[in-house]
């Protein structure tokens, strides 16, 4: 069966759509589940990193002799200890980020590392490493970094389409859109021009990065780590260490949150280098402070929007210029911001221009729908403000301009069936929309979009001799995906969910699997699981046909059993999966199904969020009073975990909107590298997060599944801003909307 076959139109699901218990549940509620930091090895050393205290400095010399002489120290590594290998630019950046070469480019940039017999010895050794720095001027703010006279991080990193005369920190330019924006603006009854700013935020996973590396003298290496993609870790580390990919086996631990932040490496190559040099296993665990200073927050942004609207709410033109700083290396997600900014709308005239900018901050990593939330904050705020000025209902305005099947999106693609309109109509009919508001309260809505994708995926499905099933997949389970895979396999095979166990393979046990990102797992791994199950079913039908002495074509698989079918099949009792499994050795050997595929055809996804806030006019404090998420899931395989994705994304967005921010001092040093002052939402900050799952099937998946993990963080920044603006009676255009900022806006009117 072709993988991109149209959806089967299957509606009579038996397992999919139910709320079964997850297979790793008991391990996780009893403390047995093994996460990144929970692994040990005999003879293990502790690895620790020395980090730059400067935002920008040339590393003149590093003298590690005193550290090396300390009793209990087994190895010290600097950049000089990494092999000289040819790396592509992106991988070189990863290496340089893991261990600085000529320059330290941000506060917290790794400059050396030690492996020692204990944490205390390692800490002592770090203090004995003498680094001579020549400090250089630094730049933190995105708009400052863009200036022609800003301190320069790198020379020669601008790509070919950056116009002459731009500052050296401007490394790429993107432009999307169609039509004639200027002409469109002329047709508008009202034109709004605004600048919006958002601060860098961190994914804030509760589990710090951790790994355990062991490099043998035979050149074989093993690595245990918490990651969103063990194959990515293997490929990156193998390149950096000059190992062949088959020599490095990477096992993904249980993962304590990622949200995009664990789609790259930070300490893993360092642990390998330390292990290689010391000849001992080396475990490294980041502190929270290291996580905030030296892993990958998202970009900060500065966005100009121009939007034209007719008196009756038709958007005549939309323009956005987006400036994202993505830290010390090229690669901010500004292209996705530029592509997604106007994606929910059917616009004749639309243009976005995106600038990728480097600054003296940690290299950004993906964060849930990377680049889209900031763009949506700007555009959805502008739409809201214009609607308000024209006295129009903000949901009606969005409905009037909503993208539908056949709409040519601002990023160029013509949409197939999509769910935006359904989310808007459902929101409009929901009791939340008409519920009365109290004093100092306001209501806001916003829409959001994310692309979703598929990618390289392998699944092996083994039928065990006792008639149960193992699904082997290669994507770390970050939020219950093993349950979803078991459910889809059970659905396809017609066996109870409890008879299927899904496990995550190490890199030596399956072919390449792309990282758990892009909301791809339930879609792509699900697709491969279904295909693997179908392959196993075909094999089982073949075995039954052998037993019955009839043609394979005369056997069908229904309700968990092979059955004769058609006029010439004859009468035979059905053979269940267990019946066939029991005689597998007699009929040709073990039975397994495989699927190895580069899955394409992920469906885009849309959401509308609605939020009520209450603003204390004396303090500027914002309270979230009520929150409802409306999102298209295609088909919710496990509705609990779909709701969980909606709720988690919404709350991360609330944090981004209200209190989370990277705060830098004049010296370019991060001032809040801890959960005390990097303020993620706590339980008492929030109400229940209501969810409405819509199911507009994705034609590219046999069950209609769409990715759901990322879209939910796209609308909340704007939804909360629109709500706070309504409650406070003043338009908020800068995040986070911290109490002092809200109060100041109120006072300034």
């Amino acid at each position: 069966m072709a993988l991109d076959a149209k959806m089967d139109g299957k509606l009579d699901f038996k397992v999919v759509g139910t709320r079964v218990n997850r297979p790793d549940g008991v391990d996780k509620v009893t403390g047995r589940a093994r996460f990144g930091a929970d692994m040990t090895a005999p003879g293990m050393l502790v690895g620790k990193v020395l980090r730059s205290p400067h935002a920008h400095a040339r590393i003149k010399t590093i003298d590690a002799s005193a550290a090396e002489a300390l009793e209990g120290v087994h190895a010290v590594v600097t950049r000089a200890d990494f092999p000289e290998v040819e790396l592509d630019e992106a991988t070189w950046d990863v290496l340089d980020n893991c261990m600085a070469g000529e320059k330290a480019l941000y506060d917290g940039h790794a400059v050396a590392a030690v492996a020692a017999s204990s944490e205390n010895v390692a800490k002592k050794a770090l203090k004995l490493i003498k680094v001579e720095y020549e400090t250089l001027p630094h730049v933190i703010d995105v708009d400052d970094a863009m200036k022609a006279d800003a301190p320069v991080l790198h020379d020669g990193r601008q790509v070919e389409n950056v116009p002459e005369g731009m500052g050296a920190n401007v490394v790429a330019r993107y432009e999307f859109g169609h039509g004639d924006v200027e002409a469109g603006l002329k047709q508008a009854g009202k034109v709004l021009e605004r600048t919006y700013k958002t601060e860098a935020t961190h994914q804030g996973y509760i589990e710090p990065h951790a790994c355990l590396a062991q490099v043998g003298t035979d050149g074989q290496a093993d690595l245990w780590c918490c990651t969103q993609g063990q194959y990515m870790v293997r490929d990156t580390c193998a390149a950096i260490m000059g190992l062949s990919q088959s020599r490095l086996k990477v096992t993904a631990s249980e993962i304590g949150g990622g949200f995009g932040g664990k789609t790259t490496v930070f300490i893993e190559p360092v642990a390998l280098a330390l292990s290689k040099k010391s000849g001992r296993p080396v475990k490294m665990v980041m502190s929270r402070s290291e996580v905030l200073r030296a892993t990958g927050p998202t970009a900060s942004s500065s966005i100009d929007v121009r939007l034209g609207m007719t008196e009756d709410g038709q958007i005549t033109a939309g323009f956005a210029e987006l400036r994202y700083q993505g830290g010390a290396y090229p690669g901010s997600p500004v292209e996705f911001g530029s592509m997604s900014a106007f994606a929910p709308y059917d616009l004749e005239n639309v243009k976005t221009v995106g600038w990728d900018i480097v600054a003296n901050r940690p290299k950004q990593a993906a964060y849930r729908a990377p680049g889209a939330p900031m763009a949506a904050f700007a555009v959805e705020s502008a739409i809201d403000e214009l609607a308000k000025e024209l006295g129009l209902d903000p949901l009606e305005v969005r409905l009037k301009n909503a993208a539908r099947e056949g709409t040519k999106a601002a990023y160029g693609v013509t949409y197939p069936a999509i769910g935006l309109e359904a989310t808007l109509r459902t929101a409009k009919d929901h009791p939340h929309w008409t519920a009365p508001l109290g004093e100092n309260q306001g209501r806001g809505v916003a829409c959001g979009f994310w692309f979703n994708f598929g990618g390289n995926t392998c699944v092996t499905l083994n039928i065990t001799p006792d008639g149960t099933v193992n699904v082997i997949e290669g994507n770390p389970d970050i939020g219950g995906s093993r349950a979803s895979m078991s459910m889809m396999a059970a659905e396809e095979l017609g066996v109870p969910y409890e008879r299927v166990r899904t496990v995550i393979a190490d890199t030596a046990s399956l072919g390449l699997n792309d990282v758990t990102d892009g909301s791809r797992v339930t879609f792509a791994v699900g697709l491969a699981t279904i295909e693997a199950a179908r392959a196993a079913k075909r094999e089982m039908c073949k075995r039954a046909a052998m037993v019955w002495g009839i043609d394979e074509e005369a056997v069908v698989w229904e309700d968990g059993a092979a059955r004769p079918s058609g006029p010439n099949a004859g009468k035979h009792d059905p053979m269940t999966l267990a019946d066939i499994a029991a005689i597998a050795s007699n009929t040709g050997g073990p039975i397994a199904g495989h699927s190895e595929v580069n899955a394409e055809g992920a469906g885009v996804s849309f959401a509308t969020h609605m939020v009520d806030t209450e603003v204390d006019p004396e303090s500027g404090a914002v309270k979230i009073v009520r929150y409802t998420v409306f999102q298209d899931a295609g088909k919710a395989v496990h509705p609990d975990y779909v709701e969980g994705q909606f709720q988690g994304g919404a709350v991360q967005g609330i944090g981004w909107a209200l209190n989370e921010a990277y705060i830098y001092g004049e010296d370019g040093v991060l001032q809040n590298p801890g959960f005390l002052d990097y303020r993620v939402p706590v339980a008492s900050d929030l109400p229940m997060i209501d969810t409405v799952i819509l199911e507009i099937p994705n034609p590219g998946h046999p069950y209609g599944v769409r990715g759901v993990g990322e879209t939910s963080i796209v609308p909340p920044l704007a939804a909360v801003a629109n709500s706070v603006s309504a409650a406070a009676g003043v338009r908020m255009t800068s995040l986070p909307m911290s109490p002092p900022k809200v109060l100041k806006a109120i006072q300034n009117g």
């Binding site: 218990n21 009893t30 093994r34 509760i206 589990e207 709720q647 959960f675 706590v682 339980a683």
Partner: protein, 159 residues
């Protein structure tokens, strides 16, 4: 720096260990006793992933020295289920999908158990404030609070 000999009770079982004077109870549990159910998310008492009870008092084990546990009664996530029988909170967390990645789950369960021991009939607001020191980044807390309330109800009915 000489090691300190400590005798304590962990999950009802007498336990002896040697630890460094500056070693936290969390490090003792994880690195010396192999009880890795308690997690370190911050090391500064801001995330609650290392929550245990000491003499029935909820604490962050990262903010207590191993040496301080001398003669005390320590309870960790590993002692929450009775053999194969899960505590009602553990069961409700699974049934309500109150965990996604699961790293905060042990700490939240220990804290929630302590809540229900202090207050068997908490309001949603009381539960939210009691658990404010336990960060969860995956769930938005919704399903966690629902699971805690459901477990509280079941435990009240059973008692």
């Amino acid at each position: 720096m000489s090691m300190i000999h400590v005798t304590t009770t962990i999950n009802g079982v007498s336990q002896e260990y040697l630890c460094e004077p500056d070693e936290t109870l969390l490090d003792v549990l994880r690195d010396r006793l192999g009880m890795t159910g308690s997690k370190e998310g911050c090391g500064t008492g801001d995330c609650g992933a290392c929550s245990v009870t000491v003499d029935d008092r909820l604490v962050c084990s990262c903010l207590m020295l191993g040496a301080e546990a001398e003669g005390r009664k320590v309870e960790t996530i590993e002692g929450m289920a009775e053999g194969e029988t899960l505590h009602p909170l553990q069961r409700k967390f699974i049934e309500h999908a109150a965990l996604q990645c699961g790293i905060c789950t042990p700490g939240i369960l220990v804290a929630a158990k302590s809540l229900l021991e202090h207050n068997p009939n908490p309001t949603e607001e009381e539960a939210r404030y009691w658990l404010a020191g336990n960060l969860c980044r995956c769930t938005g807390y919704d399903k966690i609070i629902r699971a805690v309330m459901a477990a509280a109800e079941e435990m009240r009915e059973a008692s």
